[in-house]
């Protein structure tokens, strides 16, 4: 009566599951189709072409494409466009680029530039003086909200009668005119509308814009007709990876060749790993600072602001937060700036006793110091870390601080509207350029109207004075006065210069960087 037992479905199921597991293992294990390149051992032999895979923290934003506000934008501008002149990274001596020579009139109000005649846009159209005029006028359009818009707007005349030369006329001498010419990418006037929509970016640079999928990826291909000669790489592919941790993981697993946005600590540990190379770009610095609203009753007393300046443990911030990738400062200037003065830079060295003394004095004079909110953007962890160090130090001198992390969007709105209730932490740039650029353009410093609501006649006067002079002809004493005005006003308390970093695998060679912070891949090549 025993009947043949049918093949048990369970066994079939187990077999099926087994087959599935084997299949998956095979798929993952077969080297030929592995998603992870096994690039651990490098032969050091140069590879022809190849695509450089770059990780960036932020995506491009077409409306703010000329603002150096994200690392993807930096790659795009640096790769697709050329400017008329280039500053070397650590000096303010203009070098030829699209302009070969230039001549400034004696009164400093006219600049004539000779342009290269062998340059073509990616569209194939030749580059002419009209393009320079168009680029400057675009830059002067407030809609693009560029930093040196005031400088561009001060250019009142364009003589483009010669296709390969241009003469610019200024409303008044512009000490930072070469800053503008360095920053200004030469853009194609035919495709400006597509640029606005993010559909086309046409320039004269070593790489052509290929495709953009918002939020994910931007790709570039080699410009074979580049006037300097064709670049080594076949192309560049930028992946937008907002999480620094994920960037590092992808670099370590060799999915990326270069990452632009890891944390300071990650760069530190990658630097110790001989599979990777970490670059630190002096000359393209930013500055992190504590801002004060001088109309806040407690902060309106200069002694309180100075006390805060003394209580900032800049060395600790540089060591523990920036992991050494920075320099403690009291005045904004880097050491190669004409305004740099070692003594002025040490004005507010860490001195808790002095700080406490100032606070006590102010309190004795009846200044009430309630708990002060300290606002900072919550997205970037270094602000949070610095804020907590500042909070701890200020507590020691008798100033209670309440941390107020906010979204970047709200922080910027408060910055623009000068609406911070008391203190804030942010970064600024432009101290590495001609000093007048900082005083007339950078938002927190703008002498006319700034986020601190700091109004001072002397400061306004000296800011204007250093701007309305010929480039390179500013009296060093004027810069000293400017520094003194800033330090005496103490409305913006510098903490440290931050040095931009990036990390690449050892297969990547010869990456460059502009003063603007744009990575340059023209010379870059890969080894096998």
């Amino acid at each position: 009566m025993s009947t043949p037992v049918p093949a048990p479905p369970r066994r079939r199921l187990i077999r099926l599951a087994g087959a599935l597991v084997v299949l998956l293992t095979l798929v993952t294990a077969t080297a030929c189709s592995s998603a992870v390149d096994d690039l651990k051992t490098s032969s050091g032999e140069r590879k022809e072409g190849g695509v450089l895979r770059v990780g960036a923290l932020q995506d491009i934003v077409p409306a703010r494409i000329f603002t150096n506000s994200s690392d993807s934008i930096n790659v795009l501008i640096g790769s697709v466009y050329d400017s008329l002149i280039d500053y070397p990274r650590d000096s303010l001596e203009p070098q030829p680029s699209l302009a070969t020579t230039w001549q400034l009139s004696d009164d400093g109000k006219q600049l004539t530039l000779q342009l290269r005649d062998d340059v073509k846009f990616h569209s194939g159209r030749p580059f002419t003086s009209k393009d320079v005029e168009f680029s400057i006028k675009t830059w002067a359009d407030p809609a693009w909200t560029v930093q040196l818009q005031r400088t561009a707007a001060a250019i009142t005349g364009f003589d483009t009668s010669d296709e390969h030369a241009i003469t610019l006329t200024f409303a008044h001498p512009l000490s930072n005119i070469f800053d503008l010419l360095d920053m200004l990418p030469i853009i194609d006037r035919d495709t400006i509308d597509q640029l606005r929509e993010g559909k086309a970016f046409v320039g004269t640079g070593p790489f052509e814009f290929d495709a953009w999928s918002p939020g994910a990826k931007i790709s570039f291909k080699r410009n074979d007709a580049y006037w300097r000669g064709k670049p080594a790489l076949d192309g560049i592919e930028v992946s937008v990876i907002p999480d620094p941790q994920a960037q590092v993981a992808q670099l370590r697993s060799h999915q990326l060749d270069l990452i632009l946005g890891a944390s300071y600590r990650d760069f530190e540990s990658l630097g110790k790993d001989d599979q990777f190379h970490v670059n630190q770009w002096a000359g393209a610095e930013g500055q992190v600072y504590v801002g004060t609203n001088v109309t806040n009753p407690a902060l309106s007393d200069i002694r309180v602001r100075q006390a805060i300046a003394y209580a900032l443990d800049r060395e600790r911030v540089v060591d523990e937060v920036l992991r050494g990738a920075g320099v403690p400062i009291s005045a904004p200037w880097p050491d190669y700036s004409p305004a740099y003065d070692e003594k002025a830079n040490a004005t507010y060295d860490y001195d808790l006793d002095q700080a406490k003394k100032l606070v006590d004095e102010a309190k004795a004079d009846g200044v009430a110091i309630p708990k002060l909110p300290l606002t900072y953007p919550s997205e970037n962890p270094i602000y949070g870390a610095i804020a907590q160090i500042v909070q701890a130090d200020l507590a020691k001198v008798g100033i209670e601080v309440e941390l107020d992390p906010q979204e970047q969007a709200q922080v910027i709105q408060q910055l623009i509207g000068a609406k911070f209730p008391a203190l804030w932490i942010l970064s600024h740039g432009y101290a590495n350029w001609t000093p007048s650029t900082l005083a007339v353009s950078a938002y927190p410093f703008n002498a006319e109207h700034n986020a601190s609501l700091y109004v001072d006649k002397d400061y306004q006067a000296i800011a204007d004075k250093v701007w309305n002079q010929k480039p390179g002809a500013v009296d060093p004493a004027d810069y000293a006065t400017l520094s003194k005005a800033l330090l005496d006003g103490s409305f913006l308390l510098e903490i440290a210069i931050t040095l931009p970093q990036d990390a690449s695998s050892t297969q990547v060679h010869d990456i460059g960087q502009t003063k603007r912070g744009e990575p340059i891949f023209y010379d870059t090549y890969l080894t096998k």
Partner: protein
Amino acid sequence: MTLDVSLEEPLSPVPVGPVPGDLAPERRDSLLHALRHGRGLVGVVLVATVVVLGVLGPLVAPYGPTEQIKGANLLGPGAGHWLGTDELNRDILSRTLYGIRVDLVVVFAAVPVGAAAGVFLGLVTSWWTVTDVIAQRAFDLLLAFPALILGILLTAFLGPGVLTVGVVIVALEIPVFGRLVRTSVRTVREMPFVEASQVVGAGPWWVLRRHVLPNSLEPLTVQLAVSMSVAVFIEGAMSFLGLGVRPPHPSLGSLIKDGVRLLHEAPFFAVGPLAVVVALVLGLLLISQSLAEARRA
């Protein structure tokens, strides 16, 4: 007809009909019993340990939660600092002990508040068709947003902080409990004993208060434990995305977040807070499982 006197119906409890799979009639306080034995006991011990650590933590913590110890930058676990120190020279053990409190608040305040609100709304609305339909659609709407999207959105309003986490959790729990209670109302109101009360003249409030609520307590208790474990995760996930407590104050989630940023260089950092989170969630899950089992039995 007459009946033989010898056949007395027994007065001692006799279960009716031996249905296969039914268990002993002794069900008195079976829920409490479940918590005193086996898995339930493990759960209670785990949760109680975390609660005691959180409540007594400040007494035993060697340092303050925000105290920055000079020179103690990112130390590994050692005699002075059992769990090491963080980037800002703070003792992780102390921060963990203080951080537990945030999660305790979230778990034992926000979840009950959300649950109570959900139960109340569910009870009030589900009796009448019109209010029921409205409430159900509103609950649907709340459920339609994944927790973290709700979190991101609310943070845009309120800024990061414990309050935001609490509000997110309350907003999440309202529809969960509202729906649960609705199911109970729908089931219980069909029960013969409720019909018997209605025949005599019991109104909706009477039925809801006297019959529905007491009879929903068991599923609600189970859900409460589950929701509490979910709340721990939400605090963790929101802190992970930077939407949680404000620095410098620690929470388990923010500690894990800080820890995982350094996972590669300082793996010890996240271990302590992660262990606490796992213990708390595990404990709550075990409790809910044992309660659910006891209920089914």
